[in-house]
């Protein structure tokens, strides 16, 4: 599934970032690399952007960017 599909409260492990351009590079540099645990905290009232938590800090991403990150949901 993509990060955009991760529902609030759920955690996923990053599998890959599917973009070799600027967007993908930026995502990787902000910490979205293989094996990273990302938790979705919430989305804005209109569903976009979404706020996630990784490595102890929070980031908000637009849906379009979140869709570039493939994650595997973990079941706690």
């Amino acid at each position: 599934m993509t990060l955009a599909q991760l529902r609030p409260g759920r955690t996923g492990i990053v599998v890959s970032v599917g973009d070799s351009g600027t967007a993908g590079l930026r995502l990787a540099e902000m910490g979205f690399v293989r094996g990273t645990a990302v938790r979705c905290l919430r989305t804005a009232p209109w569903g976009d952007p979404m706020e996630v938590c990784l490595r102890g800090y929070r980031l908000s991403l637009r849906r379009g960017q979140a869709e570039l990150v493939t994650v595997e949901e973990t079941w706690d």
Binding site: G21, T22, A23, L25, R26, L27, A28, E29, M30, G31, V33, R34, T36, L41, R42, A44, P45, W46, G47, D48, P49, E51, C53, R55, G56, Y57, R58, L59, S60, L61, R62, Q65
Partner: protein, 569 residues
């Protein structure tokens, strides 16, 4: 010694607070040889170490303007020492940049900020271990309290070139950060308390509305208006007393009039803008430092995207409803040069209160002209924004939501002093020129004799000459045009001139031409103060072009409104 140290770190990591704590108020923006952009720099108090505050960056990869400037500065050889500023509450991400800095072959010392916050939320960091892991000296600093500064300077002086980590790419760097650096930290659980209210499904928008209302009240409320009125009255009194004084000194009367009316009047106008400008910047600074600004940007990002902007443009734009000048200046806080330019250019479309007296004159025809104009202005931002939109809109929007923190008073005051100086310097010349010109034109006839009846003045003659241009809009009357011309120096002047020249609005305007006149007033060239602010943000050629552009757009839209109104009324 004469060395230069560069402060490098993420946005919001506390770089600027640290910079201010070390350098005091002496910071100047300027050019370094070999570096194209202007960089803020100042000597560290009591030393000859020059400190350069580089823009916040997440990495050295030149994906954005700020990264490009940082990278260029560091590669130019201007920096003898690098101080890597890392926010302890988002250390993993901050360390990414640090990893890149270690490879530059320049001595590095690390400053760890917000350690007090980390500890307050239940986390901790083993600094000696982190120092060993990175291979550079790490000093915890609390800039607001001044702790750790001496140790940091000491470390900066003694640090050597670190052993480069030899990592390629984000995967390897984060691998190193995760395995070697992060074990030095104990991370607390992410604190979400406030955000459950600030960003909760049901509460987010009411909280936002409340915060925006508070900003509006603090910036444009009665206390600010009182201050501005006080300044205006002071300037007026001075302007009234001055001619007699100047004549006594032997200054010829016409010149005395120009000096007192134009010069002092102009000064009064500039100073009158200071209270709202400072109040707004104080509010914006508080919002930014406390962390709420990021939440507002998060909530408003989706609607802002329709304008080709990001959420951060929302607050500066909305401020335009209070006054264009601080709104244009607030555009400076945006992330990219393009966003700053577009937001600054859109701000004047938000109907400013100075135009209200003009709309009010036409209330004989319409029940609520102001409301319609506010709406029209807001709607006009959409085509305008789309016209200014960048073709390759690959804007990567990523926003960090920092922990909420309490802003410091010292930092805010320092910022305000700098902003005030900025504004005064730029606005003064433009407003002065416009003021003097308008008063000159309004007080003299073509033979430079003083006129008692303003219908004889040069301004009126210019108005009459330009009047035919406005005939297609329904108000090709010299009185209407003269009022518009007066509005170029200050929008309130338009209402004053119109009232003076036109005893009854229905004598000159029909319902249809009233609509088009209001529309023109809404959209045409903003006041001289706004133009001065615009010039500062977008440069002289763009501002001049924009000044013409607003009026051209105003003409076209007013024409359309007039024709539509003729059909309806």
């Amino acid at each position: 010694m004469g060395l230069t140290a560069a402060l490098v770190g993420n946005p919001n990591a506390g770089k600027t607070t640290l910079f201010n704590a070390l350098t005091g108020l002496s910071a100047r923006v300027g050019n370094f040889p070999g570096v194209t952009a202007e960089v803020l720099s100042a000597p560290v108090q009591g030393t000859d170490l020059l400190l350069a505050d580089l823009p916040g960056a997440y990495s050295l990869t030149p994906l954005g303007e700020d990264e490009r400037i940082t990278r260029e500065f560091l590669l130019s050889g201007r920096a003898d020492i690098i101080i890597s500023v890392i926010d302890a509450t988002s250390a993993a991400r901050g360390l990414y940049l640090t990893m890149q800095l270690l490879e530059l072959g320049i001595p590095v010392a690390a400053a760890l900020t917000m350690t007090d916050e980390l500890e307050a939320s239940g986390g901790s960091v083993d600094i000696p271990a982190l120092s060993r892991a990175l291979g550079v000296p790490v000093t915890a600093v609390t800039a607001s309290r001044g702790t750790g500064l001496a140790e940091l300077l000491d470390a900066a002086r003694r640090c050597g070139v670190p052993r480069p980590p030899r990592l390629a790419g984000a995967q390897e760097r984060y691998g190193c950060i995760d395995s070697i650096c992060m074990p030095c930290f104990t991370l607390p659980d992410v604190r979400d308390g406030f955000d459950r209210a600030a960003l909760g499904r049901l509460t987010a928008l009411p909280v936002l509305a409340l915060v925006l209302a508070a900003v509006f009240f603090l910036t444009f409320g009665p206390h600010i208006r009182a201050l501005t009125a006080l300044i205006s009255r002071g300037a007026d009194a001075l302007a009234r007393a001055a001619p007699a004084l100047l004549s006594a000194l032997g200054v010829p009367r016409p010149l005395a009039l120009i000096l007192s009316d134009g010069l002092i009047g102009g000064l009064g106008t500039v100073l009158g803008f200071l209270p709202p400008v400072l109040a707004l910047f104080a509010c914006l600074s508080l919002l930014e430092d406390s962390g709420y600004m990021a939440r507002a940007a998060f909530l408003l990002d989706r609607p802002m995207r329709m304008l080709g902007l990001t959420g951060r443009a929302a607050v500066p734009l909305l401020t335009g409803f209070g006054c264009t000048v601080p709104a244009v200046m607030a555009a400076r806080t945006l992330e990219t040069p393009h966003a700053r330019r577009v937001t600054a250019l859109l701000a004047p479309l938000m109907s400013c209160p100075a135009k209200l007296p003009v709309y009010a004159l036409f209330s004989v025809y319409f029940p609520a002209p102001a409301a319609a104009m506010y709406l029209l202005g807001a709607l006009m931002t959409v085509p305008a924004a789309l016209a200014l939109r960048k073709r390759d809109d690959a804007s990567v929007f990523m926003l960090e939501l920092p922990d909420y923190r309490l802003p410091t008073l010292r930092g805010t005051v320092r910022l305000l002093v700098r902003r005030a100086g900025d504004f005064m310097r730029r606005a003064f010349t433009t407003i002065l020129a416009a003021s003097v010109l308008v008063r000159l034109l309004g007080s003299f006839d073509a033979a430079f004799g003083v006129v008692s009846d303003s219908s004889q003045s040069m301004l009126a003659q210019l108005g009459a000459a330009a009047a035919p241009l406005f005939a297609p809009l329904g108000f090709g009357d010299w009185r209407a045009v003269t009022a518009l011309a007066a509005g170029l120096s200050a929008k309130e002047a338009a209402a004053g001139v119109l009232t003076a020249l036109v005893p009854s609005v229905s004598a000159v305007f029909t319902k249809a031409s009233a609509s088009s006149f209001c529309t023109f007033t809404l959209l045409y060239t903003p006041c001289a103060a706004s133009l001065a602010a615009l010039r500062r943000e977008v440069g002289l050629p763009a501002a001049a072009l924009a000044a013409l552009g607003y009026s051209a757009a105003a003409w076209l839209v007013s024409f359309a409104v007039y024709r539509a109104a003729l059909a309806f009324f």
